[in-house]
């Protein structure tokens, strides 16, 4: 999973002693919390997990819009149950990636087992954290499938936001119990009453079911725990059944291999057992099982309904794919429904800024993808940018996070090209159908774009976007959405201060700069979230860029017909600014087939000769000329036009956000 390895930082955890909350005996010193999962400590008393039958187990998630207090609430729950000691170190705010704040995501935190005594019964409460963004909606749905209920946290001041809506529906569709919690009631502008009404109107949950809390101050947090026990049903499964375990997350540890987070839907699991992956059919021997508190704590066994981790000699995270089902060797079970392999939705080229860095970048990529099997990596090379890769990401945010981790954790500076989306073509040409062996193909690069004549229909991916905004920005937002070819599906006043809009967007219209545009025209108030909405028919064309009539392969793009003119013009203008003048006139053209849709003309040099060149000027002059002569080698020649690498970089590079 892309974002694992962050939670240890956040929860700076101490290992708890097992048992009821009343006796948090913290025998362990502070664990190193610097990198990923610290090792579990050995030689301590193991918890007997058989003392927690299914009836005393509750599996739940916390879901919330960014900054609504999900992690703070988690901190408090861990403190109250003695899972971590109460100290002011337990602050989630410090270690947030810049990209989280900019993009509005909650980076996935780690799952934890909490022990809580309520009315004389010891309960095992498994808090299964989920990545908080729609790029990871598949992962979220798998995590939620291990739960029977969720805590839906809404900010008492900000009210319902786009992600609140998306998260609610994910939980609702999974038929989970929902405990609405209104957080930050200690804030001056808190208006819990208004938020309760929003929740009632939008989600049909009676106002009196909401719990008003301040996670920061701990107000009413205990009540939340009680509600979890009362309202969320225990998992429906049986230890007597054969083993059936869902893999809902996995991380990679350099010393121990893959650590898979699992939820048991039946049976029990223990060290020494032989297990099989339903997806890969590979067989493994279990080396270790245990619970997460939130660091790994080994146990003898795990039983049906419980949640924990497993180490079984898996070498790569692809062996423990999220959604996969594990069962005992020779005791196969029906795999849990809903498994899919990660499907990249956003592609971008990645190249080292300097080709000599290729090997370093390669090893950094390998190390990062060890923990993130959802990134697809294909070697690619561009005549202009050199050797690199074409990477596939789950979404735009996933790409941002990946790139930022590469920069921050591996100190790698890369050229990332503007993201593209996977299109499809329904083939009509019998010859092509035979060639591909199917009548529908996915197009990732413009080079694969089949001609219109052999295609009955082109398809583009779409998403259903949810925007929640104060009403004063509606006009501008509607215009923005229309510019992006979006179709309005819903417009609902949540109350007098909040409007929810739903639009069906072509994915390619939001991958580049939509979020920034939305934020800037709403002064930061509008929130946005989206979910996969399948493919739709689209009038797609391939646009070529020509320099003096010769096509530039790496600048070809697949684009919607309506957008071609404007995009072609922009590309030509940018090229004109970046290609240096040469000895002859250069026509920079955008073309669809044979039709030219935009043109810029780069005038030739009429004078380019240094005025003074005497004794003292010669050394400096020669240095420059030699460098220019050397630069000739790095020029990409399109016909007779020389295009420096910089020009390609400036045109192809993703515009970074302000």
């Amino acid at each position: 999973m892309a974002l694992a390895g962050r939670a240890a930082l956040r929860w700076g955890a101490r290992l708890p002693s097992p048992g009821p909350a009343a006796a948090p005996l913290c025998r362990q010193a502070w664990l190193p919390a610097a990198c990923g999962r610290p090792y579990s400590s050995r030689g301590k008393e193991e918890i007997d997990m058989s003392t927690y039958p299914v009836e005393s187990i509750r599996n739940f998630s916390i879901i919330a819009h960014v900054d609504h207090g999900k992690s703070t609430l988690a901190d408090r729950l861990l403190e109250i149950t003695g899972t971590i000691s109460k100290t002011d170190r337990n602050k989630q705010v410090l270690d947030k990636l810049q990209v989280e704040r900019e993009r509005g995501i909650t980076v996935k935190a780690q799952s934890a087992s909490l022990f809580y005594n309520h009315e004389g019964i010891n309960y095992l409460l498994n808090l299964i954290d989920t990545p908080g963004h729609v790029d990871f909606s598949y992962e979220v749905s798998r995590s939620l499938s291990a739960c029977q209920g969720v805590i839906l946290v809404v900010d008492a001041n900000e009210g319902i936001q786009a992600q609140t809506v998306a998260n609610f529906y994910l939980a609702f569709e999974a038929q989970l119990s929902i405990i609405p919690v209104i957080n930050k009631i200690d804030l001056k502008n808190a208006d819990p009453e208004r938020v309760e009404k929003q929740i009632e109107k939008l989600f049909d949950i009676p106002t009196d079911e909401c719990i008003r809390i301040s996670a920061k101050q701990g107000t009413n947090v205990e009540k939340v725990l009680q509600k979890v026990i009362e309202k969320i049903p225990p998992p429906q499964c049986n230890t007597a059944d054969p083993l059936k375990a869902l893999v809902f997350d996995s991380t990679f540890d350099h010393y121990r291999g893959v650590i898979a987070n699992i939820a048991l839907f039946g049976g029990e699991i223990a060290k020494g057992q032989k297990i099989v992956s339903a997806h890969t059919k590979k067989r493994y021997e279990v080396h270790e099982v245990g619970i997460l508190t939130p660091n790994e704590q080994p146990t003898h066994k795990l039983y049906a309904g419980q949640v924990g981790y497993l180490i079984a000699g898996m070498k790569e995270v692809t062996e423990a794919q999220i959604g996969d089902t594990l069962f005992l060797y020779k005791q196969p079970v029906e795999p849990l429904p809903g498994f899919k392999s990660a499907k990249p939705m956003v592609f971008a080229g990645m190249y080292p800024v300097d080709q000599t860095e290729y090997n370093n970048l390669k090893s950094a990529l390998e190390r990062l993808t060890l923990n993130d099997s959802s990134v697809t990596v294909h070697r690619d090379s561009s005549l202009a940018l050199g050797a690199g890769w074409r990477l596939g990401f789950l979404g735009l945010l996933h790409m941002e996070v990946f790139n930022q981790r590469l920069e921050q954790e591996y100190n790698m500076s890369v050229i990332l090209t503007a993201p593209t989306v996977p299109y499809k073509a329904v083939l009509s040409s019998a010859k092509l159908i035979k060639e591909y062996g199917k009548d529908q193909i996915t197009i990732i690069s413009p080079a694969q774009f089949p001609d219109k004549l052999s295609v009955s229909e082109y398809l583009e991916p779409t998403v259903l976007g949810t925007i929640v905004t104060p009403p004063e920005y509606i006009g501008k937002i509607i215009t923005l959405c229309q510019d992006r070819r979006a179709v309005q599906k819903d417009l609902l006043y949540i109350d007098e201060n909040r409007v929810m809009l739903k639009y069906l967007f072509p994915l390619n219209e939001i991958v580049v700069d939509f979020y920034d545009a939305l934020k800037s025209l709403s002064s930061g108030y509008a929130s946005f979230d989206y979910e996969d909405a399948g493919y739709q028919s689209a009038d797609l064309i391939k646009m070529d860029i020509l320099l003096n009539g010769n096509p530039v392969e790496e600048l070809a793009t697949i684009i919607h017909n309506d957008k071609a003119y404007a995009a072609g013009k922009l590309l030509c203008e940018r090229l004109k600014e970046t290609i240096p003048r040469q000895l002859f006139e250069i026509a920079i053209q955008a073309a669809i087939g044979k039709k030219i849709i935009a043109r810029e003309t780069l005038k030739p040099y009429r004078k380019n000769v240094v005025a003074k060149c005497y004794g003292g000027d010669i050394t400096r002059r020669m240095k420059l000329l030699r460098r220019q002569a050397e630069g000739k080698r790095l020029m990409r020649k399109i016909g007779n036009v020389e295009v420096p690498r910089d020009a390609f970089i400036r045109v192809l590079k993703r515009e970074t956000d302000k």
């Binding site: 003048r581 040469q582 000895l583 002859f584 005038k603 040099y605 009429r606 004078k607 380019n608 000769v609 240094v610 005025a611 003074k612 060149c613 005497y614 004794g615 003292g616 010669i618 050394t619 002059r621 020669m622 000329l625 030699r626 220019q628 002569a629 050397e630 630069g631 000739k632 080698r633």
Partner: protein
């Protein structure tokens, strides 16, 4: 002579504005360094001497005389050798000029730069247009046929018409040699900062090209030979000294920051060296006093580097690189062998930028204006 009374707004040369110069000390060092380097080079005959700077006309004729005596003492300095002094209109009284002539100077290069008072102020010059006229007329009286003037074009805000007028005035004033320089906005100068900051407009590329072409046409029509990118001469008044740079001949640089290219015969060497003297005058003097010269860097030029220089410099002239000169540096591989074969140079010849014939390799009229776009291709081909 590295000193100036005032720094001009466009100048990034190695010049110093100091309240007082110990001229006797500087003179002694110039003499000593000239003697040392001449001895190291073991040249027999010196064909030209150029006093540049800085503002050499601020030095006294005695200093010029002392250096020339040193040269004549260390090598043969023929009576006809070209001895040029760079002068500013603001330090060029008739009596001073007379003194320099008596000291042995026989050619004057006057930094007129412009014949418009507003332009001169923008350039940070100390003189007015009227003073420039007077200075040039006085110089022509003393050095008839051997007075050159420097002019700048492409000043921020200068129009095509204004430049045409300057050219016209120049033709009325000038002698037989003119150097026309397009203003280069050098990093770190006051003028470049003003243009970058938007206080002054940056001249457009097309306008600069037009100005250059206009100047070429006007001067050629007036009987001048356009013998180098920025140099024009009539009646054979070409600068021998400057030609030696462009022909990649040997030259010795004397004084702070001076550059030289010569073979150190005294050390038994036969390879050409690029030498640079210490930039800062005080440090330079200390070195000269202690070791006879203030050479800060010595780099032996490889045969390829020498050819690269010959190519880059020679193509600036109308004669180009003759087969003979090329053969001097490259006895094995002829011009024809390097640039006559299919490749960049051949393409440039076909496109009409270059000519390779019995005279050698040179730019066409059109090619000269875009030489810096041709050179990277040619060097790239030469390196292969």
């Amino acid at each position: 002579w590295p000193y100036c009374r005032k720094r001009c707004s466009y100048c990034n040369f190695n010049t110093y504005v100091v309240p007082a110069v110990d001229e006797a000390a500087v003179r002694a060092c110039l003499v000593r360094e000239a003697q040392t380097l001449l001895r190291l080079s073991q040249v027999h005959s010196v064909t030209s001497v150029f006093f540049g700077g800085g503002t050499p006309s601020l030095a006294s004729p005695g200093t010029v005389a002392a250096v020339l005596e040193a040269v004549a003492g260390a090598a043969h300095l023929p009576a006809g050798a070209e001895i040029t002094l760079e002068a500013n209109p603001s330090s060029t009284s008739a009596s001073a000029l007379d003194g320099f002539r008596a000291a042995g100077v026989n050619r004057l290069s006057i930094g007129v730069q412009s014949l418009d008072d507003a332009e001169l102020r923008m350039l940070g010059r100390e003189h007015t247009a009227a003073e420039a006229w007077k200075a040039v007329e006085a110089a022509r009286g003393l050095f008839p046929g051997r007075t050159s003037i420097d002019l700048l074009f492409g000043l921020p805000g200068q129009s095509r018409d204004a430049w045409a007028q300057r050219l016209e005035a120049t033709l009325r004033l000038c002698d037989d040699h003119i150097s026309l320089y397009q203003l280069t906005l050098e990093r770190g100068t006051a003028l470049a900062a003003q243009v970058r900051g938007g206080a002054l407009p940056a001249p457009r590329q097309d306008l600069l090209a037009d100005m250059y072409q206009t100047a070429r046409k006007v001067l050629v029509a007036a009987g001048f030979r356009h013998y180098e990118v920025s140099s024009f001469a009539r009646k054979g008044a070409l600068s021998t000294h400057n030609l030696s740079y462009w022909r990649a001949e040997q030259y010795i640089g004397v004084g702070p920051g001076a550059h030289g290219r010569f073979v150190l015969r005294a050390e038994g060497s036969c390879s050409r060296e690029a030498r640079v003297q210490t930039l800062e005058p005080v440090a330079w003097m200390r070195e000269v006093e202690s070791q006879g010269h203030g050479t800060r860097s010595r780099v032996v030029l490889s045969p390829l580097e020498q050819l690269e220089e010959l190519l880059s410099l020679g193509l600036r002239t109308d004669e180009g690189i003759t087969h003979e000169r090329w053969g001097h540096f490259s006895p094995q591989l002829s011009l024809q062998a390097v640039f006559g074969e299919p490749g960049e140079a051949r393409a440039l010849q076909q496109e009409g930028w270059l000519v390779l014939d019995s005279g050698g390799l040179r730019c066409t009229w059109a090619g000269l204006a875009v030489l810096d776009s041709l050179l990277p291709d040619l060097l790239w081909q030469l390196q292969r």
